[in-house]
Amino acid sequence: MGTWRRGRWLWLAVAGLAGVSVAGLAVLSWASCDCDKVPAATEAARVVAGFSFVVAGVVGLAHRRLRRVGFLMSAVGWTWFAYELGYIYQPLPYTIARLSAGFWQPLLAHLAIAFPSGRLRSRLDRLVVTSAYVLYWGTSSVLLAFWYRYGPTGGQTPGPHNAVRNLLSVHYDARWHEAAEFISQALVILVAVAVLAVVFWHWRTATVAARRALDPLVWASGPLAAVVIAYTVLGARQFPAFAPLAMVALPASFLTGLLRMRLSRAGVGPLVVELGQTPAGDRLQAVLARTLHDPTLRLLYWARERQSFVDTAGQPAHLVSERSTRVVRRIDRDGEPIAALVHDPALQDDPELVEAAVAAARLALENERLHAEVSAQLVEVRSSRARIIAAGDAERRRVERNLHDGAQQRLVTLSGALKLAQTRLHGEADGQLGPVFQEAARELDLALAELRELAQGIHPAILTEAGLGPALESLAQRSSVPVRVLAAPEHRLDSEVEAAAYFVVSEAIANAMKHSRASLISVQVRQTEAELLIEVADDGIGGAALNRGAGLQGIADRVRALDGSLDVISPDGAGTRVIGHIPCAQLAAHRFAAAHTEHAGRMAT
């Protein structure tokens, strides 16, 4: 970019120098000639017009993409000054000046039709431009052939001051000359109208982005056509003094267009800022379209797993349909595509702008990709955590059921049989065995009580059966430290939410009993619009923390698996509060179902 910019300054200097020197030479030859010549004001306007074309053309030459059009534009400028060559009273310059004084006209036609790429794209384009050249050279040489042998004051023989010879003169005949002049003027007007029509047609069929480039020409073409026609009909001498200034419209608008392009590129700056401020998302496409002034621009993302491009909605997209002229710009990273821009071919006229936008987009895309990757992983981790917990719960239920259906039933039956045996034994009156049976029965009682506690700890049957309220009440009743349940939801919740809330409370109570030396624990579970709030508070010694002990950490994981949070507030000596939040999204879906179940339950009982 740096060297390129230095090169451009050099070109600008060359342009200035060339413009100044050619204009200087023109003025010099005009001034040195004491013959019949255009007034000073007209000459000044002519110099300004020619100078502007030369300068704008050379500036165009400095841009890689505008080289052709720059060349044509400067050529219009150089040939514009061919007229002044006629002030040098020598046969050859004079003849050349007479011959090529209007050569800028077909060049201007070429420029207008080839604008802004500098290429002739269709047969019609080539036809019109070729006709312009052929007709010009044809008519101007014919005109010169039937012009005076000596000029510029006229006459067949040299006079005192005007012995410049027309080298091409064949035969002078005023009528022939007039007829040729009339035909040539008609042809020039015809060609001018054709060029105008072609330019308008180009503009009509151009894409939105390409229109931006054509705009300066369209705005300038009116004044230009007027100048060409006026010049042709009136000739240079009768030309209104300031009319050539209208010519300046094209170089001026051309330079304005270039400036606009620079400003567009400056627009990439805000693009970077805008993309940096917010996650790109779908907006990236819109922002790029705005920055590149191409509302048809499409941003396609590379879907690695599908090995194809998808659009912003995630639908598979073909890069380009076969007949499309749209341009695809792939954005790669480490040799693998990450995205592609499909844009208007007109944007190719300013590759630097596209590159700058792509660089900005690449940052945003990379950012977005990493973001998407992380959130995909997060989703996966979350759902796997939820699955692990759900699997754990299912396993707990299964183990509890097995204990209930198996060991507990057998122990109870065994206990009954033992008692029966004991009763029968009384009849047999064996004093020895009595105490043994009693001991066995007591041990069995203890075993049953322990097994019951164990099974209930693994999974409280009442939770599945009757929900959080009864389960918390049961928990409170079984606790050795007084537990008061201040609030609990009356309706059923999602079983995972119920389990999470239950285990938060049971773990917090267990923790309080083990460490806090609390004399009272209060429990409340409240449901608001937004969340389920679980709070277990004790009046113990405090100093508990989430990271101390696997118990609290385990329930924190459980709550987080439901997108919730768990906090432990436990200043030394001021009791402990364990506060859990489970967001309502988890609850809302189940509220209807729960109400429905409750209703059905009431119907059944």
Partner: protein
């Protein structure tokens, strides 16, 4: 006395039947599901139905639901619900608004044949039986008001036995007290707890449990 037994665990069901038979009950039917139980109750018109709380298909509270249906529809049939765990919630559902002819016991209680047989008879006679573990948990529960703290140890014992569904007569026998003493304790308890006195044992259970549950 005619009894039906419902439990999906065959082993346990057989055990209960054996114990009941040994205690002199006539077991007129057995069932493994709630619908089979309801059918049995209608066809056999037993004095008592002994029902496990957990039965298929969900193994949660099918037995309790069936017990409540029997309580409401077959008023002459007593229902004794057996459960692996005792839950106040179950007791409250079972008692409904009109206690009497219902019982709720831990499954373990069946092994004490004499006690169990007397409980079954109590339910058959329209009385109430509440597992002592439920009552002791309720009594042990922390309370905001401390009206219970005003009770003497003896009064607490009496309150517990009342809550288990025992009559004054049973309480007198259990605590080896005179009838008058028991009546005095009961009156004192009701006045201390600000409960309306009722001569009906079952209403008394309801009042006491409702009080304890708050």
């Amino acid at each position: 006395m005619r009894v039906v037994v419902a439990d999906d665990a065959v082993l346990f069901r057989e055990g209960v039947i054996r114990i009941l038979a040994a205690a002199g009950f006539e077991v007129v039917g057995q069932a493994g599901t709630a619908p089979a139980l309801l059918e049995l109750v209608q066809s056999q018109a037993p004095d008592v139905a002994i029902v496990d709380i957990r039965m298929p298909p969900t193994h949660t509270d099918e037995g309790l639901v069936a017990a409540c249906q029997i309580r409401d529809l077959e008023k002459r049939v007593g229902v004794l619900v057996l459960s692996q765990y005792v839950e106040t919630h179950h007791v409250m559902r079972l008692l409904g608004e009109r206690p009497g002819g219902v019982g709720y016991l831990l499954k373990d209680r069946v092994r004490d044949v004499e006690e169990f047989a007397s409980d079954v008879r109590r339910v058959a006679d329209g009385g109430s039986v509440i597992d002592p573990l439920v009552v002791s948990r309720m009594l042990g529960k922390s309370r905001r008001d401390s009206l219970l703290d005003d009770l003497s140890d003896r009064e607490r014992q009496v309150l517990g036995l009342m809550a288990e569904g025992r009559s004054n007569q049973a309480i007198r026998e259990r605590l080896r007290l005179s009838g008058k003493t028991v009546e005095a304790h009961v009156r004192s308890i009701f006045s201390k707890l600000e409960l309306p006195e009722t001569p009906d044992d079952h209403r008394r259970v309801l009042a006491v449990l409702a009080y304890l549950r708050v």
